[in-house]
């Protein structure tokens, strides 16, 4: 999935054991990702609003250890 074929909404999950604490996700999509005291990712919302989708995809791409998984949520109807 790339930003070019951005789906409407996505489901996000994070692997806290993989996380290296770089914090780039939080800088890219601060409404979706935060950091705990050790710098490890905290997922604020697993199904963010559509407006956040592009930022979430960018955050997943920027993650140095690919600890962020993004799946599209199929939207039924309009």
């Amino acid at each position: 999935m790339t930003a070019a074929d951005t789906p409407e909404r996505v489901r996000v999950s994070v692997d806290v054991d993989r996380c290296c604490g770089s914090g780039q996700c939080g800088l890219t999509a601060p409404d979706v990702f935060d950091q705990d005291e050790d710098g490890i990712v905290v997922l604020l919302t697993p199904e963010p609003p559509a407006a956040a989708t592009a930022a979430v995809l960018t955050a997943a791409d920027c993650c140095p250890v690919q600890a962020i998984t993004v799946e599209s949520i199929t939207v039924d109807g309009g």
Partner: protein, 423 residues
């Protein structure tokens, strides 16, 4: 092509391995080393000559990310096939701390420090960095009185990162000058290797004493926090903590200093980009990212050894072969960046590799970014008419240095009404 035996070997680990991918000379100071650009022409991954064994140079963006993210590649010196210019003179074990470790040692040590570089901690540090920058600019202004050229490297680029590390570690203010002088010696490639080693030994002594002082009288600096781990975990070994603190200093000093110097030089000729520095924060951030990608000062090939057979691009790398990831050419791969040799990428949609990738991705990058976002606007905001005080062809750059940069940057500006004077 010359062989290794014909070249003098410096214990600093810099070589004149003429014509090979280890040769770091740049004919264009803002573009990757010439030899690395040549390697990139041969493809995203190609075999290169090396003192010992098989070594692959990786210059493709996707391929670089793949290598750096794959746990099959080890960062440990003693892993068979680890590429080294001077295989018989590897640094002492642990001297580079977690930079040259694999999981689980790497994970344990690095996780001790990830909490120091969160967005919240950076926000808390920002006022101190702004104050240090302002003080250094005052010193520059005083040195310039009467129109004397000043060396930006000496008065801003080098002192700022070491002052910031002082703040981070909790080095007492009274020791700042000593610490700065010491860290300056550590990165001075013109000093003979024994003197630089002596500086490193004095740094180790200083950090050990500092650790003991913080054990008795803690403050809210990094070292005190490390000595009192939150969840009842055992505090780190003193030697381990001193090595890690030294890594934070060494890794965060020359890199940031050279970015400040080179970015300033590049921007002296670019009024439109300079104007963006005085614009909105998001414009400053975008310009800093463009500078990081464009300059990629960490120009040594990131070394790894394959611990099993791995396919990278068209090549089947075998266990026991070495890899050098060339971040500069990867950051200019046309497959990832539409106008790779331009500074301004406009809509920056791919993350650059100036800070690496994978588990060793630069730990200090939030701090490096913060220092650049503070220092460059402050500098050009204060001295709007900043210009070179020498001819461009008189500028001296570090030769064969693992971190590219200027030796000095003599600058001047019109004295009266500094900020009001047009460039």
């Amino acid at each position: 092509m010359s062989t290794v035996s014909e070249h003098p070997v410096s214990q600093a680990g810099t070589y004149s391995f003429e014509g090979s991918v280890f040769d770091l000379r740049r004919s264009n100071p803002f573009a990757p080393p010439d030899s690395q650009q040549e390697a990139a022409l041969a493809g995203p991954i190609c075999r290169v000559p090396a003192p010992r064994g098989v070594v692959w140079a990786v210059s493709g963006y996707a391929e670089a990310r793949q290598v750096l993210a794959d746990p099959s590649f080890s960062a440990v010196f003693s892993t068979p096939g680890f590429p080294m210019l001077d295989p018989d003179n590897a640094p002492a074990d642990g001297a580079l701390s977690f930079l040259r470790m694999d999981p689980p040692d790497h994970t344990r040590l690095r996780r001790m420090f990830t909490g120091e570089f969160t967005a919240r901690r950076m926000a808390a540090l920002r006022p101190a960095i702004e104050a240090m920058t302002a003080d250094l600019l005052d010193t520059m202004a005083a040195a310039h009185a009467g129109g004397e050229p000043v060396d930006l490297v000496d008065l801003l680029a080098l002192p700022l990162p070491s002052l910031v590390i002082c703040e981070l570690l909790g080095v007492p203010y009274a020791d700042h000058a000593y610490f700065q002088a010491l860290s300056r010696e550590l990165v001075d490639l013109s000093l003979p290797a024994p003197e630089r080693q002596a500086a490193r030994d004095r740094l180790d002594e200083y950090l050990t004493a500092l650790i003991r002082a913080k054990a008795d009288a803690p403050d809210d600096g990094l070292i005190s926090r490390q000595l009192r781990p939150a969840d009842g975990a055992a505090p780190p070994d003193e030697r381990e903590l001193a090595n890690a603190a030294a890594l934070l200093l060494v890794a965060g000093h020359e890199t940031t200093a050279n970015m400040i110097g080179l970015s300033t030089l590049l921007l002296l000729d670019r009024p439109a980009e300079r104007a963006r520095l005085l614009g909105r924060p998001d414009e400053v951030e975008a310009l800093v990212e463009a500078l990081l990608r464009h300059l990629t000062v960490a120009q040594f090939g990131v070394p790894r050894a394959a611990t099993r057979d791995v396919r990278i691009g068209e090549v089947e790398i075998r266990a026991g072969e070495g890899v050098l990831v060339l971040l500069g050419p990867a950051n200019r791969d046309v497959a990832a960046f539409a106008a790779p040799h331009e500074l301004d990428q406009g809509q920056q949609d791919r993350p650059h590799l100036a800070f690496g990738h994978g588990i060793h991705h630069c730990l200090g990058q939030p701090l490096a970014r913060l220092e650049l976002r503070v220092a460059l606007p402050a500098l050009f905001g204060r001295f709007a008419g900043l210009r070179l005080a020498v001819d461009a062809d008189e500028l001296r750059f570090r030769e064969q240095s693992i971190i590219h940069g200027l030796v000095s940057l003599p600058v001047t500006w019109a004295e009266a009404g500094d900020a009001a004077t047009a460039g």
